[in-house]
Symmetry: D2
Subunit: 380 residues, 4 copies
């Protein structure tokens, strides 16, 4: 096994922990870490526990001791690496969003389908699916406890660029990042909602906004157009926030919001689902909790209950601590790696697939198109 990890710590941590906590059909090895700088990659490999380094990712593909490539590069290189790795017969775990365009994502999904036929597996890393509470939410919906789903309310709220003096980092530049809050965190809330429902958005009506239109150049922005400006500022070319309404194929209606301007909200991926028999609500800022309302109880006895998702019978939780001893953000990555290794060992296709990643890409594109055309309804 191998990771190719610019994200470094989170994924290294996941590879190291997974074997200690889960019985796995194949064992994870930390074979090689790839990076451009020989010194920094070697240092990272040492600290994080990788056995060897590569400075050209292509070398990973020719090594026989490498069976899996974990792609944590920025979105503009996902397609190239993933296509080559699948071609070389390596399993691929690819960070989200799958790509920077629908066209790239389509090519990747097609390559993944072809590779699967040869027993080569692929997965897109929507890690929030692996929060135990989110997985429990999906289980509840799948078991029919919520009945017919009527409503989804999904938001992903952050606040790290509220200050207009926050610099023009690459995530605020369209040529680098593809889009802003929409692609970065909107993608997560879309996937999480679709995962919980086991259903897909069929159409959307969107609106995007850039509140702070110019920002000071960051130290790392050398070479950007307009840098010569005397005020030291340049244009923000992505959305600060995106709102959209949507419809699911099963009849639910939905509203979504992704923003980096929700002062006081740090990482509030929140989803509320209302059905004919019950409701659920989740907030990543309280990640060990799922709130459930059982609408089949007498009204006098019912209310949203706070389930601490730390019981042995809860998804993933049984591998860890006694009830009430919570997990954190990094465990989503451990669970992700575990599920991928399990699928490889069992010879099944893991989810979310590249096809799932492509679908999210199409939703993002539909939102942008709708926003550009007076919010008119746009089919995904």
């Amino acid at each position: 096994m191998v990771g190719y990890a610019f994200m470094g710590r989170v994924h290294s941590q996941a590879w190291r922990s997974v074997g200690a906590f889960f019985d796995l059909p194949v064992s994870p090895a930390m074979t090689a870490l790839a990076g451009r700088s020989p010194e920094r990659t070697a240092e990272a490999a040492r600290t994080l526990g990788w056995a060897s380094v590569e400075t050209d990712w292509k070398n990973l593909l020719t090594r026989e001791d490498v069976h899996l490539v974990d792609i944590c590069t920025p979105g503009d290189s996902h397609a190239e690496i993933a296509l080559a790795a699948l071609e070389a017969g390596k399993h691929v775990l690819c960070e989200k969003p799958l790509a920077n365009s629908v066209a790239e994502a389509e090519a990747m999904a097609e390559a993944a389908r072809a590779a699967a036929a040869r027993g080569v597996r692929s997965m897109v890393a929507f890690n929030y699916r692996r929060v135990p509470a989110v997985a429990l939410a999906r289980r509840y919906v799948a078991e029919g406890r919520l009945g017919e789903i009527r409503h989804v309310r999904g938001v992903y709220l952050q606040d790290w660029i509220v200050d207009p003096e926050f610099p023009l980092v690459w995530r605020l530049q369209k040529d680098k990042a593809g889009s802003g809050a929409l692609g970065d965190i909107g993608a997560h809330v879309i996937d999480t909602a679709e995962f919980i429902l086991g259903d897909r958005l069929t159409g959307v009506s969107g609106l995007t906004e850039t509140f702070v239109k110019e920002r000071p150049y960051a130290g790392d922005s050398a070479g950007l157009t307009g840098q010569g400006r005397s005020d030291g500022k340049g244009p923000v070319t992505v959305d600060d926030a995106a709102l959209f309404l949507g419809r699911f194929s099963g009849g639910a209606i939905a509203s979504f919001e992704a923003t980096r301007f929700a002062a006081g909200r740090k990482n509030a991926l929140r989803i509320e689902v209302s059905g004919s028999l019950g409701s659920l609500t989740f907030d990543f800022e309280s990640l060990n909790e799922l709130w459930y309302h059982d609408h089949t109880l007498p009204a006098e006895d019912s209310g949203f209950r706070r389930i601490l998702v730390t019981e042995a019978g809860h998804p993933y939780a049984g591998a860890w601590w006694p009830p009430g001893h919570g997990l954190g953000y990094e465990h989503t990555f451990v669970h992700e790696v575990r599920d991928f290794l399990e699928a490889i060992g069992e010879g099944t296709d893991p989810t979310p697939s590249f096809e799932d990643g492509l679908h999210v890409q199409r939703v993002l594109a539909a939102v942008e198109r709708s926003a550009a055309e007076d919010s008119r309804w746009t089919t995904v």
Copy 2:
């Protein structure tokens, strides 16, 4: 003073309490209660404390001891009564929504303007403005504590018709109710948001849905088209839920939802406002609380704080109990009556004005138009 109260208890309670708790420039009298049934109106007047009864509301307008008419009838008679009352020189307090159409509301707003020139006052009864926490939210925004407003998230969630066997009451019939969740509770969340911001929506993109398209006839639905159907059911002709996106003139972007299908949510009028310097959040199900995030504090010290809006210095609260002893739903009406009587006594125009009510009507109409036209952006 006089009330014309089919709503009965809530308003009667308000008229009775207001004098005991607030110093008022004019004193409230419970002069006459109007109703169609002589027996029921007399009984209600006795129980609720009104001094006399009328079975024709027009008689109220000719009585010299009646100075104010409180219109709590269904929306289809608001315009007729209000126009006549203003013409007769009576102050008018009118339930929301102001009317069943923009045209009616325009006529009423014009009549109110003309009446105001003669010292006759009018007010539309968006009572949630008078929740102390909502009034405090407005104060915070007005004081600039939130800086520039970026986001509004407003929902009004109820669940009383989740059961498909819930009958086809008048509120589910367009000819009687005008619209469904949109006009009934969507109107409240629109007004509350505009009140807190001191700003108005300029455009919307909407979507409406009727989940349960047919319901059993209620006992009180005699005469409705289709009642002869053998299955005892008839069509629901209003929305069960309405979602819309919007923009405020000051630059904020917003999402709104009004639904009667949010299982487990009983009366969740919720608003979150995010600004460049802080944020606020309110939920009527916890009506004595306002949550405030001060974004000017160091990040390490900040977080949403739960302000119990029961201090002497809080809006309205000083007239009631010591800190921590909460108020309830009915007090919104007491405060409403108090503010109206104060305005009459001081010779000023109270808010929300009929003009404000007309504006909400226009937003509702724009949402319906947008929903009918593929969610395209629609100017208010």
Copy 3:
């Protein structure tokens, strides 16, 4: 009927509201208000709606149109008035704590028993029993939903004297107030816990503390010992806070706290009850909620659920608004008056009885005795 109300507004409000919201076997009349100052009493009667005034409470006892005396005077006159009123055949509603000593309370309880034999009713005004959520908690325990009760955690937290410059008001002087936080708010949390459990404390171990031992004289403290001191301060002679452990006759163990020094807690009467089959928790600062954990559910599905105690089937709530429209502090008094009038009409003895009030007095005395004797266990 009649009220004798120095508390004024709350009780007047209760008398006025009760008839409008509840069907009553006897109707409440606001016959006479008694007070020492002719002017102030007359003014209060006018504002609050009482038909006549008395400046000597003894006159109330000779009036034939007065059937009930509502005693809201400070604790040092409860016994005298109540004994005389019961003797005169008037029903008595007496504020809590019942008296300033066990001896007085014993005399009152005996008089109440004797009066009851003649059809004269009495009730002590532990109003928190009439919060719908508290009454629902009792119902749950009585229905056996919690199984055997193991634990009670009761606190009553306020913070109005945290500032050491807060003046030496009468409530901080033992000769006037009897005790401090213990008798004022500790009495409430004791009664509320015993009410919910339907059980009584049999022994306690206590500790009391006065954090701020001297305070500036208040304007209204003329005549107190030591007023001549040059620093303008005098001694606080009551407890600022009291903690105690206890045992209930049914086997539950308990901890209690009453304090006026819990910065940030305004009126936090909180009770958590843990049983073998479930648990409950209540906080008056969120008075419309009861949190219930059903321990008979699978662990994976269970958690504390927030029941909004606003359903038609909940205690008292059916008389008011639709679900989710909360009540406030004053409604506890309306419910109290309602229950008393119902008992009078039905010829039954209302609760809490003077006997119940006497028991609370005994618990308070046992806590003080234990605190004075090295916290040793003290039988109630």
Copy 4:
């Protein structure tokens, strides 16, 4: 470095993670794992990542490549191992409670003092001190933000033995476990409170209870007295719950509870601290939050604020993720190891010291003594 870990996963995880996330003056090595069974220890070492195994812990003390012994055995062997390890010049990290008696703890504390003089370090593993929110609470108190501390409310609530059919495991037998809830979880809440306050309890008044006095023998209880009983049950010889009141040397008064009978509470280590200038509250079931009330703000603006303790400037948090991405239970162990290694590297004595562990032992003993003597006040 070395760990001697029967607890296995948690501590192994901590040793592995600490180097990747923190800059350390000495690097952690996973040199040897000790256990009685050769097979099971070898298997554990392989899975968890230890380089070698020992089946006699004494061998650890003679190995030159072992510098530190991490004692995770049951309490009855702590003293023997720790004394030998310190004597052998090994640094010692010892699980809590430090020992099973005050006498043992005294010997250990004395040995630790002597060892420290030779540069050999020791630490007792009260891991909850390393929750970022708990460390932040201590910082706030130390900075004087809470002013003079008046109140502490500490509970540690679990519910894993509510069912009377839960078997008689070793933790319910006094000869094995020393005490029940008191020593197991009461020790944690005592240490956490003393850590936050930077102060110590000077006296207590206690009460203990065993609700279920007999339980079925567990499979692992062979050889216990009374096992021959025909009903297959034996006596529970430890407390199910312990309550106590206390006083801190700085003047604060406190109440504590430790129980395994709080149905619905899974791992609720909760502490509320009230001071003259502010208050704090923490609950391990929401471990990434600290609630803070700033009493110096105007009452109208103040309330408990929910600080997400995930900012770069918060204790430990800066080593991990961006704001809002929470940590879990295991990170308390990573932080613990980090702090110990830092102290070793810097040549300072880490905390909590064995002296701190001895003090907690004395509090536990005082509670038991008080409970046995009618709850009379008992000096620590």
